[in-house]
């Protein structure tokens, strides 16, 4: 029988295996060694690998990011962890101006193999400063790679790749995905940059779901099924480099694209995917495109507004329905409780 792990344990195992394999891997960040162990993702690593290779830090996001770059220059492979993506705003200078640029501006003389793990928050009133999905900033900047795995399987494979990658990798997690469970092989494996996955085959409309929004797309897909619409669902996995081939091929087939982002749409990942698909398919196929993402406001904590703030399976299904039928009749499926637990379990 396949072994099932949570996303959390998949991350923990990937880190553990790489730390075992390669003495140059170090893990640090605020609270990585505390009793909560970053939701458990770093549990036991300090005991196993010692306080030098696994250590908590002062609250100094800027300098600690710079330190990661310095460690990388000295031959280490640091994994720097942030419990909220929002806090990366304090680290932008080192990420954008130093880590992303060092290989180039030093003429290839150095490499910066760092992994920056950060988490997107959602629900229970996380509010304005604990809920952002700001990865489009990192997609914008040449020299950074960006990955947002949506399953435990990918969490492990992408993290192992990210650690071995010789460039800075922004590894984006989502708090709700942390609790997902799925098959994860025990042995080590890597998932290469720039490879998306078609998780559901369909012919009527392409749904691209980023990070946690992939789960919502799977829900949407089931809602759509019930009215006879076959959605194709794609998980891009890597946002930079982005597998536009797979996405464009799907849209070429379905003629309709709904991109569901886990962030704001303006200048976001969904804008980029929409633009790329348009550039690819113009003159080749007449397609319809729709972007969904966070409402263009600050995230409100109060539950009703928070619900409206995020796309969900039903609103995605509704949008896809409109794309497919060319109507705007306000169709919105009733909530189905059987879809509460929806996880992509392969086949991979």
């Amino acid at each position: 029988m396949e072994r099932v792990l949570s996303y959390i344990d998949a991350i923990r195992e990937a880190t553990d295996q790489e730390m075992q394999r390669d003495l140059s891997v170090v893990v640090f960040g605020l609270d990585v060694d505390d009793p909560k162990a970053i939701q458990g993702t770093t549990r036991g690593l300090m005991e196993k690998y010692g306080r030098e290779r696994v250590f908590g830090t002062p609250l100094s996001e800027d300098a600690m990011t710079g330190a990661a770059v310095g460690m990388a220059l000295a031959g280490l492979r640091p994994i720097h962890i942030h419990i909220r993506m929002d806090f990366l705003m304090l680290a932008m200078n080192q990420l954008v101006n130093v880590a992303a640029k060092s290989r180039y501006m030093y003429g290839g003389q150095v490499r910066i193999p760092i992994v920056v793990r950060s988490m997107i928050g959602k629900s229970w009133g996380q509010g304005a400063q604990h809920s952002q999905g700001l990865y489009s900033f990192f997609m914008h900047v040449p020299g950074l790679k960006v990955v947002a795995p949506a399953t435990p399987y990918d969490a492990k494979g992408c993290l192992i790749h990210a650690i071995r990658d010789n460039d800075p990798v922004m590894y984006i997690e989502h708090r709700i995905l942390h609790f997902q469970k799925g098959p994860v092989p025990e042995s080590s494996y890597t998932m290469s940059p720039g490879k998306a996955r078609v998780t559901v085959k369909g012919r009527d409309v392409t749904l691209v779901g980023i990070s946690y929004m992939h789960s919502e797309c799977l829900r949407a897909c089931r809602y759509l099924e019930s009215i006879g619409i076959q959605a194709e669902v794609i998980d891009p996995i890597w946002l930079s480099p982005l597998d536009i081939d797979t996405i464009a091929a799907s849209v070429h087939k379905t003629g309709r694209l709904c991109i569901v982002d886990n962030g704001w749409t303006t200048c976001g990942a969904s804008a980029e995917i929409a633009a790329l698909v348009t550039e690819r398919l113009q003159g080749v196929k007449d397609v319809r495109v729709r972007r969904m993402g966070f409402a263009p406001v600050t995230c409100p904590p109060t539950p009703l507004l928070e619900d409206l703030y995020y796309p969900n399976g039903r609103t995605i299904a509704s949008a896809a329905h409109d794309l497919v039928t060319g109507t705007h009749n306000g169709w919105l499926p009733d909530e189905r409780l059987d879809l509460q637990e929806i996880e992509f379990r392969g086949p991979f």
Binding site: A128, T302, P303
Partner: protein, 312 residues
């Protein structure tokens, strides 16, 4: 004085106990960071302030909000995510605000409001006002670069700001000892040319006295800033409504002197029984009214999602 202090201490304590009681019901869908055990700092400081003075704080926001005079009903409603909340349900526990009472906001990103506070103080100076700014932050904030940048600027410009470091020894579960080589926080302030003092025992009157003196000096035209490190102790978990001694990052034993030294109890014992019961009854009634207000208030309408992003 003692009665005012007791009322304020007791009120904050009881509000937070009430929040802790309600919390498991999931009616408060906002991460709460309780100040139970730390009330003396907010109370000691804010009792030395005038209504027109302003305070900036952190996500651990209930105590200073209440101590400074923030509206309790609006606070409760905010925790419930109601339209009647101090931020219309758009802030939550980590972003309490009441500008009418000088509560200028609270941020969930450590260290950020220190910089906002010095900007406010710069404006006060430019405007020739004699009010002042208090910047509350935890020991964790002293790790951040913005702490130093802000202190440097405040010192350079002699700003009317009182920095209050609420040193409860931990940033989440990490002791100051694992974050600084030297745990002398006042030395950091002094290196920027700022007068700094530590209040060791969490005595609300001592804190009050220090801040009163500083406030008077500032109002009399002495140049700021002032810096006080107030040792204190958080009795509950970092976030949430439970104790957390079982986690192992600290011992109950460590807490004991602080529990013995509890300023709420200390002041209770200093006040005549009759008057004390009256204060307590008034506070209880106020709290029940605030909870009822929060329960009964409506949630914001859907259209509210799109207001307050930018003007108009």
């Amino acid at each position: 004085m003692n009665e005012r202090v007791y009322r304020s201490l007791y009120r904050i304590r009881r509000v937070e106990e009430e929040i802790a009681r309600i919390y498991p019901s999931d009616k408060i869908k906002s991460p709460v960071h309780l100040s139970i055990g730390q009330e003396a700092v907010s109370v000691g400081v804010c009792e030395a302030l005038r209504p027109e003075d302003v305070v900036f704080g952190t996500y651990r926001s209930h105590a200073f909000y209440l101590a400074k005079g923030g509206d309790l009903k609006k606070m409760m409603a905010e925790l419930y995510g109601k339209a009647t909340g101090c931020a219309k349900g758009k802030g939550g526990s980590m972003h309490l605000v009441d500008t009418a009472h000088g509560v200028m906001g609270a941020s969930a990103v450590v260290g950020t409001t220190i910089a906002n506070a010095i900007g406010y103080a710069y404006a006060l100076k430019l405007q020739r006002k004699d009010s002042l700014v208090v910047s509350f932050f935890g020991d964790g904030a002293t790790d951040e670069g913005v702490f130093h940048e802000s202190l440097n600027f405040a010192a350079l410009k002699s700003l009317p700001v009182v920095f209050i470091c609420e040193n409860n020894f931990y940033a989440i579960h990490t002791s100051l000892m694992y974050r600084h080589k030297s745990t002398d926080i006042c030395a950091l302030a002094r290196a920027h040319g700022i007068t700094a003092e530590r209040v060791e025992d969490g005595d609300v009157l001592a804190i009050h006295e220090h801040v009163t003196r500083a406030a008077k000096a500032l109002r009399d035209g002495s140049s700021g800033p002032f810096f006080f490190e107030c040792l204190t102790y958080r009795l509950m978990e970092h976030v949430g409504s439970n104790e957390d001694f079982h986690l192992g990052y600290r011992t109950r034993q460590e807490a004991e002197p602080w529990i013995r030294n509890d300023q709420v109890k200390r002041f209770a014992s200093m006040i005549d029984g009759e008057r004390r019961r009256r204060i307590e009854a008034e506070v209880e009634a106020e709290i029940q009214a605030a909870v009822a207000f929060a329960e009964e208030s409506p949630f914001p309408e859907g259209e509210e999602l799109f207001t307050d992003v930018v003007e108009g």
